[in-house]
Point group: C2
Chain length 276, copies 2
Amino acid sequence: MKQIESHRISGGNQGVWRHQSNLLGCEMNVAVFVPEHEEGARLPVIYWLSGLTCSEQNFITKAGAQRYAAEHGVILVAPDTSPRGEDVADDPAYDLGLGAGFYLNATQAPWAKHFRMYDYVLEELPALIEAHFPASYRRSIMGHSMGGHGALIMALKNPGRFAAVSAFSPIVAPSQVPWGRKAFSTYLGEDEAEWRDWDATALLSKAQERLPILIDQGEADDFLEPQLKPWVFAEEADRLGHPLTLRRHQGYDHSYYFIASFIGEHVAWHAKALMA
Amino acid sequence: MKQIESHRISGGNQGVWRHQSNLLGCEMNVAVFVPEHEEGARLPVIYWLSGLTCSEQNFITKAGAQRYAAEHGVILVAPDTSPRGEDVADDPAYDLGLGAGFYLNATQAPWAKHFRMYDYVLEELPALIEAHFPASYRRSIMGHSMGGHGALIMALKNPGRFAAVSAFSPIVAPSQVPWGRKAFSTYLGEDEAEWRDWDATALLSKAQERLPILIDQGEADDFLEPQLKPWVFAEEADRLGHPLTLRRHQGYDHSYYFIASFIGEHVAWHAKALMA
């Protein structure tokens, strides 16, 4: 891993690293915040998955999470949102291709060659983080919008893997909304039965672990009704008795101003589970 | 004033407003954060002046100041760094023209027509803020780099006007460094005697008020030696007995990661003076 940025913040280090991903077949950037810590200590890791159009930069420059990670002694890892590079398939739309990997493993040409963000976030990235940073094996995951959905499916599909999961303004039922239907039909094909393995609401009934979920959603979010519909997920969680805390906040929109307002509570929620 | 952005954050509102500036002869954007407050309350205002290349956006998206302003009940105002528009004089360099107003009143053609950021920040902008927002007449001022220098000269030239002044990584002696010499010779002309009225270190000996100054500076700042030289200002303050707290922080650079690390302490410093 090659460090391409290094900044001191809140007593720790915000780095950006570049590495060759064998899995994705391209170079990837990943942002890693390591708080001040005692020599030899191994710290738990919170993974952050960003939304459509984002890179590894958005979260580290806008969320203000580092001060809370420093306070709780946790590492923050923010990967990019898709494979990158000239030979990676793309689409002119903002919600497909580069910046729109949807944290799944594509099965359809030409996407299947590079678009394997699910395996990357679940396997290749943690192995790198645990090899190159003072990271323990305690992991949790959170994200925003498309990345909120990514966090939900990572946790739901992998019982025992994550100590906590939370999301800001997540897509929760991609099979039922335009962003998700477009991405799934493109990356996974037209057979909707295949989609159920990648849809958080569909996965909830198969979850083998009752890991509590925290979701924050702004009521003034333009995407709330057409794309997000958190009530679909909440109704399913309620039906199944899956522990979900869904907080709806008046006046907040889909931006990082919303994330910055509540990121401290999310980091505290994760830290409590990671230190338990 | 026309609102062009509105976001809820930390219980308050982060707006961006556009208005015709009669003084600058162009339209200007200004960012205003108003915390939650009681009906009819008038809140003190901290003005933030950004550095070279910035607009009104950098501070509000990257510094994480809103949570502290909400906690202390103060308004934050962040103007743009120069006049803007197609008929405004510019230069291809990043440190002259658009984004590089230096918070002075230019006397040289073609700059004198629009580049009057000093009068704008000191007079026109506060009048607008106090007319359109729940703002009291209690004001303080802070800034970064070029904007740190702007804050220093605003306070030094106007005794009694500001309750507090502070700066991150400021230019302190523009007459003695390349950024300042280039800007001053361009905007003010070659007669260096004219520069003394716009140079914080030169102004310190004329200050009629012993307003305490807080400066934070990163030791890993690439601009520290060639452009900033805070020791020049510190030596003059020491000679004059002017109260200055200069804190030098190991490992921190010139970026918003540094500002984000200490902005909470600056807002608290200002709030204490504003509420006194």
